[in-house]
Symmetry: C2
Subunit: 524 residues, 2 copies
Amino acid sequence: MLFIKLKTEPNIIAMNSPAISFQWFQILIFLLVLSISVSSSAAQYFNDIPRLSLILEEYSHDHQVLSATSVSEDLKTFYYTQTLDHFNYNPQSYSTFQQRYVMNFKYWGGANSSAPIFVFLGAEASLDSDLAAVGFLDDNAPRFNALIVFIEHRYYGKSIPFGSREEAFQNASTLGYFNSAQAIADYAEIIMHIKKELMATYSPVIVIGGSYGGMLASWLRLKYPHVALGALASSAPILYFDGITLNPEGGYYSVVSKDFRDTSETCYQTIQKSWAEIDKVASQPNGLSILGNKFKTCNPLSSSSELRSALRLMYAYAAQYNRAPRYQVSAICKGIDGLNSSLGSQDKDVLSKVFAGVVAFYQNSSCYINQITNASETAIGWSWQRCSEMAMPIGIGNGTMFEPIPFNLSIYKEQCESFYGVPPRPNWVTSYYGGHDIKLILQRFGSNIIFSNGLRDPYSSGGVLKTISPSIIAVTTVDGSHCLDILPEKGTDPDWLIRQRKTEVKIIKAWISKYYVDLKAYKQ
Amino acid sequence: MLFIKLKTEPNIIAMNSPAISFQWFQILIFLLVLSISVSSSAAQYFNDIPRLSLILEEYSHDHQVLSATSVSEDLKTFYYTQTLDHFNYNPQSYSTFQQRYVMNFKYWGGANSSAPIFVFLGAEASLDSDLAAVGFLDDNAPRFNALIVFIEHRYYGKSIPFGSREEAFQNASTLGYFNSAQAIADYAEIIMHIKKELMATYSPVIVIGGSYGGMLASWLRLKYPHVALGALASSAPILYFDGITLNPEGGYYSVVSKDFRDTSETCYQTIQKSWAEIDKVASQPNGLSILGNKFKTCNPLSSSSELRSALRLMYAYAAQYNRAPRYQVSAICKGIDGLNSSLGSQDKDVLSKVFAGVVAFYQNSSCYINQITNASETAIGWSWQRCSEMAMPIGIGNGTMFEPIPFNLSIYKEQCESFYGVPPRPNWVTSYYGGHDIKLILQRFGSNIIFSNGLRDPYSSGGVLKTISPSIIAVTTVDGSHCLDILPEKGTDPDWLIRQRKTEVKIIKAWISKYYVDLKAYKQ
C-alpha cells in the first residue's frame, strides 16, 4: 500500500516495495493533486467525481462493513493463466498473467444436477475487499444449491499483469490492456474454464456485480449470453455516459442534494450558504489559516478549493453509502442542525455548523479535511479507468445545495492526456455497449438482467430505473443507497431491503426454472 | 498484385512495388507451399481448406459473375479515420488508418422518415469485388427506400493500416490488429458515424454479409444490437469452430462428396477410384511425369500430393460455387462421365475421365493443375485470419469420395506458429461469439437474424440450419450453393432462389415494420 506522507513534502514517499519508478511517483502526485490540492477551478469537477465503488474502504464507517463479515473458511483460491490481450494477435498480446479467483463448493448441488453457479465479478478493488463486503452469494447459495465463485478484476489485488504493480502501472503502454472489454473477456474465459473443469456444461451461471462491477455483469450477459444465463447488476450506472441521460452532468450531485434536503431542509440550507461563507473567510487576511483552524485541518489549507472539494466529497460519499445503522446523511445533518447535544448549541455560525457535520461524519478524528491518506489501489486503478474509458461526465448543475461546476469535456480530456500521455475515449462505452435509447433497443433483444438501484444513491441518476422487457427488469427502492442489496443480510436491515432481495431472488429463480425446462426439452 | 513466377525459382518474384521486405517474401513462399507444393501428408489438410469467400475471383467462371454486374454510378466513396485498436489504450492503439466505405443515396427515403439503411459488411476481399458481385442491396433498396452502404474490411482493398500493405503485413506485430472483433467494431463505428452525419438516429440498420462476412453480420447484430436492427447472414458457417458440429472435421468434404454423388453415381465412383490410381501411376518410374502429361500440368509435378490436392480443391470449389448457368459440379461430372462428346468416349481409363472433368471445369485452358497464379490479397489475408482466429477444423472424414485426411489440430497450430511466429487461438471464436448449444442459448436471447444456407454448399455443414426463435430464423434451400441469395437477381435464377429471396425480404420487412411501431410508441 502506498503512503503519501505530506503534500508539502512531495518527495517523501514511503512504499512497501523499495523500487519506485518515476512514473509511479508521477501517478501518486497526480492523485495527490486531484484529491487534495486542487487549486484551479478548471480542475474542480475532476476532483469531485466520487469513486464508483461497491464500498469505500478509505472511510472508517466502511470498516464496519468490512469487519462485520467474516470471510468464509470454505473458500478455495485458484489462479488462471489469463491472456493479456484477447483482441490482438501480436506477440505481446500472448503474454499471460495469473488471475485470482476463489470458489466455495459447500452448497453446490454438483454438475450432474446442473446446479447453478453464482459468479461475483470483481470490480476496481482487490478481491479481498469483495470477499469481506459482499453477502449476496453466501446468503443465497444455500437456497439455490449454488457454487460460489468470486473473480478478481485484472490490474487489482493479486491479478496484476507484467509481474508487478510497478511494471503494470508504468505507463500507457502497460496500462493499455486495463479496460472493461478485456476484463469481461477474462471473466468469460474463467467461467468457461471452471465449467469445463467441473464438467458443468449445463449449469446456469448468474453473474453478480455492484457499481462498476454491476455494469460489467450486465454487459457480460449482453455480450456473452453463452457464458451467463443472467445478471444481477446492482447500482450500475450504465447510462452515465456520453450524454445519454437528460441531466448528464448534474445527475449525481442533484441526488446528493435531494438526499440532504429530504433529510433536513435547514441542513440543506446551511450547506447551500456555506460555500459563499468559505470564500468570504478565505478572502480575509490569513483567511486560509482561519479556515484551517475552524475545520481543524490536518495540514495547512493550500486554497479554499481544497476545503470546498473535501466537503463536497464528504456529502457525496455520505449519500452514496448512506445506510443502517449509521445513516451518514442523517449523521451529518444532525451535526449541522446542532441536534447532537455534545457538539453544542444551534446558534453557531454557518461554518461552525458545517464543521459539526464534518465531526459527525468522521466520528471525532484528531484532525480533518486533508488527512494523510493511503492512495488505495482502487484510487490509482480507477484514476486510469476514468481517464481512458469510464469517462462519466459528472459535474454539478444548477438548483442544488452546491455551487454549479459544469463538466468540461475538453479540460477533462486535456488533463487525462497530459497525465497519461493518451487521451480518453469518452464515446467508446456507448459505442461498444450501447445505452442510448436503451428501452427501444433492448425491448426485443436480450434477456435476464436485473438492474437494481436505490433511488437515494447518487449513481442511480445513471441507472436503468424502468423495466425494459419481461426479463430485463428494474428493481428500485425509494430509500436505498449504493449496492445495499448485495451486502450481507443483517438483523438491522429495513423491511424494504429484505423485500428487495426477495424480489431479486424470485426473479433469478424464475430464470433458472425456465432454463431447466428449456434444457430438458433441448436434451430430448 | 503479386505474381509468383515459379515454384522452382522461388527467388524470382515480380511485384508492383519495388520495395519487398523479407517478411513479405516469406508470406509468398508460405502461400506457395500451402497452395501448390504440399508434399508431406501432414500438411495436406492445410492445403485443402477451401477459401471462405463470397465469390472466388481466381477462377474464370467467377469472372462471369463479376463482369455481369455493372457497379452503380450512384456510389460515392468515403474514408473514415478508423482507430487501429478498439480494445487497448496504449499509444500504438491510437494510430488510425483510412477505412473505405461507399454509399448510394439514390433510393433513400431520408432521415426525416427514418428510412432504413442497408449495410453490406465487406469480408476478406477488396470492396471493389463486393460492389461488383453483390446484388441484394441494389435489388432491394428501392423496395425499402433504403440507403445503401458498403464498408471495406480492415487489411483489404484500400483500408490498410500502417500506410501500406508491405508495412501492414510485415509480421505478427502489425498483423495482430487484423481480426474479426476489431473489424466488427470498425463497422459499428462507421455505421454510428454515418447515422450521426445524416442525422438518421432512428433509421433502422440492416447488416448484410456473405460467408465470412455473413458471420460478421450475425455477430454484429448479437454484439451491437444498438447499431444494427437485424442481420442477413448468408452462408455463414458460424458453427464450424471448436467441435460444435457433430462432424466437425468431415462436414465440408462430405457435402462436396454428396453433391457429386447426387449429380452422378458413376462420376462419384470414378473420383473415388482415382486417388489410388494416381498413387499407382506416381509410384512407377517417371510416374510424376506420366501424371504431368496426362493432366497437361503447367509445370512439372513435384509430388502426387500436388495433383491430388489440386483436384480436391477443384471439386470443392465446384460444389461451393455451383450455380446457374454453368453448374460446375454437373460440368465436371459430364466430363468425367464422357457425356461431353467433344471430350471423347466413355471407355477411357479412370485418370483420363478425371482429366476430362478438369478440362470441363477449367474450360479448355492451355495447361492445368499448377498454373502460375497471382496470390490474391484474399489468399494472403485469409491465410493470416485462418492462422490466428478463423481456425475452422476442416479435414476429410470417412465415407466420402475422398481419401480420409483427419484434421490435426496440433500440426495446424505448429505450422501457423512456425510461419507467423504466434500460435492460433482456435477456441477464441466460440469464447467470444458462442456457438455451442446455440439453440439453447439464443432461443431466449437476441433477435432479428436470418441465417440463410444452400444445402449443397459445403460450408452449410457449419451453418445454422434450424430456426432458433421467432426472429432468429434459418432459411435453407435444398439446391442452393454458397451465398446465392445475395448475388444479383438474374433472369436465369431458378424459382426456389427467387422464393428464397422473397422470404428473406418479407422477414426483413416485418422486422422494420415492428420497429416503426416500437419507435412510434417510444417517441410518444
